[in-house]
């Protein structure tokens, strides 16, 4: 059974903290993605990676960075967390032009 695993389901962080969200997939997919979901705004792409050490900005990259040192792992970093980054974060992986598989999501609250 295919799996995308996010390191935390729920996270509470303070404003200004550096936050790491980790995602691991076991399907050997080349593409990995980070989205955030907010009410009424759907799924917005933050960053994606199409290969190890390769990354591209999505639609809302400001305030975020990413790291992909190994094919199976894609990390999202909030350099200095702010309250407007309170959201549901979703990681996904995909092979070529097929369906993407999502993790269970991380509900991040910044206080």
């Amino acid at each position: 059974d295919v799996k995308v695993t996010q390191s935390s389901r729920y996270l509470v962080k303070r404003t200004g903290e550096k936050v790491f969200l980790e995602c691991v997939q076991d399907m050997d997919h080349e593409n990995m993605f980070w989205y955030r979901q907010d009410p009424g705004l759907g799924l917005r792409l933050i960053y994606f990676s199409y290969d190890v050490k390769m990354k591209e900005k999505g639609d809302i990259p400001e305030g975020y960075s990413v790291s992909r040192e190994k094919k199976e792992r894609f990390s999202l970093i909030l350099e200095s967390a702010s309250t407007n980054q309170t959201s549901m974060y979703l990681c996904a992986s995909r092979a070529g032009n097929t369906e993407a598989f999502f993790g269970q999501g991380t509900r991040l609250t910044v206080v």
């Binding site: 080349e30 993605f33 759907g42 799924l43 199409y50 390769m54 996904a92 999501g105």
Partner: protein, 116 residues
Amino acid sequence: DQQVKQNSPSLSVQEGRISILNCDYTNSMFDYFLWYKKYPAEGPTFLISISSIKDKNEDGRFTVFLNKSAKHLSLHIVPSQPGDSAVYFCAASGIGRGSTLGRLYFGRGTQLTVWP
């Protein structure tokens, strides 16, 4: 600028009836379309997809129709069940090159409520 649009934020349907969710896209380079279902506090799960070489794909109660000339697709759920109540996202990907090949573009979702 949204390349995939779901213009109905919500849809309410009685159990047993047909649910029709709609999606429009603007990029003629899209060649693969997907529908996802999402419950609160969970990640989206893949429902059904269709390639641009087809105009219909069926999987049990779910059928996706693609009208390329109108740049429109729809998801039909027959019969609708209360457990189908969720947010449904339409997504598309295209004949990109290199880094853009794998990217998925999502609509904003439609909240489907199926009542008894």
